[in-house]
């Protein structure tokens, strides 16, 4: 009411400008400003700086000059980088499939009626909420070369004769990283899928039962299509998280043995900050960007589509 009165007293161009801006423009921008400024200064600016650094030969103590794509080319020719590059994709691909399949299975299980369900769901979520570095330390100790509790059990069950070299063999070290990543990520999948399952109308299942559908049919024809929009968000968030995660690798293997388990994030830290080659390190991190960009673009498209 008040707004319209003020509008009518303004001359036409100003009125048109206000109409074009929207009726709450001033207050809207003012309330947004602190958050947006914070993000522009401390997310946007560092991002630009990251691109710039990746194009220079800056090191700790040397301001550096523009070197074009040299860092990117150098890294691509490095054995260790290519290993890390491949590891990042393998780790993301393999664990996402495992987390999705087990997460879905557990969601269907925990969706059943049973005594103590609330408690069970809460307990299941614990691996996701505790600090990753700290829980990874427990795995580190369980995978210890001589004193591994996992090996102790397997040996006493007679399943293995020799200790499994969990962290000292390159392949097993990758497997160990995947185990920890899945252990931590499965609850996220389970709980979010569980929430998604609640949105599926019960009538659909009843109708399908009358038509003689078996549980597998119902899963494929009703459950999965109905929860797909949410599922795709969950998968993207998990893929981005795994792709860029530094914590599990840094605290479980530190990239070892012989640099065989580095991912882009840990290698970027090793080269950029531990060796002080800031330009090279920034370039390694930048190698993550095209994939992340594709994921973000897909997700944005997905959100827009389901909002329509």
């Amino acid at each position: 009411m008040q707004g319209q009165q003020t509008l009518s007293t303004l001359d036409p161009p100003a009125r048109r400008f206000r109409a074009w801006m929207g009726r709450d423009a001033l207050q809207g921008y003012l309330m947004l400003a602190p958050a947006v400024l914070w993000l522009v200064l401390l997310l946007g600016y560092p991002f630009v700086l990251a691109i710039w650094l990746s194009l220079t030969n800056k090191t700790v103590g040397n301001p550096g000059t523009f070197v074009g794509l040299n860092n990117f080319i150098n890294q691509w020719n490095s054995e260790i980088f290519r290993r890390a590059f491949a590891n990042t994709f393998i780790l993301t691909g393999v664990t996402t499939v495992i987390k999705f399949v087990i997460g879905l299975a557990l969601a269907l299980l925990f969706n059943q009626q049973f005594i103590g369900r609330r408690f069970a769901r809460a307990a299941l979520l614990l691996p996701w909420i505790v600090p990753t570095v700290l829980s990874t330390m427990a795995f580190f100790w369980m995978f210890d070369s001589n004193l591994s509790a996992v090996n102790w059990v397997l040996r006493n069950l007679g399943l293995i004769q020799k200790n499994i070299p969990w962290l000292t063999d390159p392949t097993m070290a990758m497997v160990s990283i995947m185990i920890v990543n899945c252990w931590r990520g499965i609850p996220f999948f389970t709980i979010t899928i569980l929430a998604a399952l609640q949105t599926v109308p019960k009538e659909l299942y009843e109708a399908a039962s009358i038509d003689g559908a078996n549980p597998l049919h119902k899963l494929r024809r009703i459950t999965l299509p109905m929860i797909f929009p949410i599922l795709s968000v969950v998968i993207i968030v998990s893929v981005i998280g795994t792709f860029s995660d530094v914590q599990v690798v840094a605290s479980l293997t530190g990239g070892g043995p012989q640099n065989s388990t580095h991912v882009l994030a840990t290698l970027s830290y090793r080269v950029g900050l531990q060796s002080g080659q800031l330009g090279q390190g920034a370039a390694i991190a930048m190698y993550m960007f095209p994939f992340l960009f594709a994921m973000i673009a897909f997700e944005l498209w997905n959100v827009r589509r389901s909002a329509r």
Partner: protein, 299 residues
């Protein structure tokens, strides 16, 4: 059909139903209860392992002949060692200060931004909420090298202030997104009454909408606090003095030195360091799950 036959048929039917029920109950034990228990055992094993190790004297820890799964002579010495000989309590306090400050800043800014984006009409609204969503998906590991440069430029490097100003960069996008979704679920009518009565937008938010949005705000607080408590890479990069360490970084850098691992104190630290978020979580499970699914459900 006589009454007696009817009675007999009824009894047979009842017996049959009972057998079916019993069989179904047995089936449920096999397809539900046993898998649930197994899953929980596996998922919670690492926590049990932390606890056992933190109570087990070293001779038992290194004795391969005995079962590693329970301590024969439990000891509390690692906890004392952790509290007396390391800066664990200081790291704990640092993390608490940083998490509380970063959470406060992020939630306040996100309430304003989320309200503005969900309620007010102005040009560029959709574009800005899109940008905020995108920044939610930008991982911290992409930016830690330039972030160290920025912290140097702002002269906060090696101080807790560095973390307090940097953590909101990954908290604000998530909290704003979450609160936007929550504000949309609150009926707009009440607020319109207040506006007609001459309140401005900030007053409408402060006295009408915000009190109704408390559950959403609590969810945002819990999430922001947990994410800050668990943060690792910025804590590692932006502060390097042992006195400014956050808990995860302090534990990893101090209790793991080269090939030397202080297993007892390390596991005690892992357990104590997880305690705040576990406590917070156990009081607010519902809110936590809501936050976890917010991005997915309202996106």
């Amino acid at each position: 059909m006589t009454a007696a036959v009817q009675h007999l048929q009824g009894a047979a039917l009842a017996r049959q139903t009972r057998t079916v029920q019993r069989r179904r109950r047995l089936l449920r034990i096999f397809v539900i209860y046993i898998p649930v228990v197994l899953v929980l055992l596996i998922m919670l094993l690492p926590f049990y392992w932390m606890l056992v190790t933190s109570l087990k004297p070293y001779p038992e820890m290194f004795n391969l002949k005995i079962s590693p799964f329970y301590p024969l002579n439990p000891t509390g010495e690692y906890y004392l060692e952790l509290l007396n000989n390391t800066k664990f309590l200081l790291w704990f306090k640092n993390t608490l200060v940083v998490s509380a400050a970063a959470t406060t800043i992020s939630v306040v800014l996100s309430v304003l931004a989320g309200y503005s984006l969900s309620r007010l009409r102005f040009r560029g609204r959709t574009a800005i909420s899109g940008i905020i969503f995108v920044s939610y998906l930008i991982p911290t590991t992409l930016l830690f090298i330039p972030m160290a440069e920025v912290a140097k430029q702002l002269q906060v490097i090696n101080r807790l202030e560095a973390l307090i100003i940097v953590y909101p960069t990954f908290l604000i996008p998530f909290c704003t997104w979450l609160l936007m979704g929550y504000f949309r679920t609150i009926p707009i009518d009440l607020e319109e009454c207040a506006l007609i009565d001459g309140a401005n937008r900030v007053q409408a938010l402060r006295f009408v909408t915000l009190p109704l949005a408390i559950p959403g705000v609590v969810t945002a607080i819990i999430f922001a606090f947990t994410l800050s408590w668990n943060e690792f890479i910025y804590g590692l990069v932006l502060v390097t003095g042992e006195n400014q360490r956050t808990l995860p970084v302090g534990v990893l850098t101090r209790l793991v030195q080269g090939d030397l691992y202080f297993w007892g104190p390390l596991m005690a630290a892992a357990l104590l360091g997880s305690l705040p978020v576990v406590l917070l979580f156990s009081f607010f499970v519902e809110q936590y799950v809501a936050g976890l699914t917010a991005g997915a459900m309202k996106g």
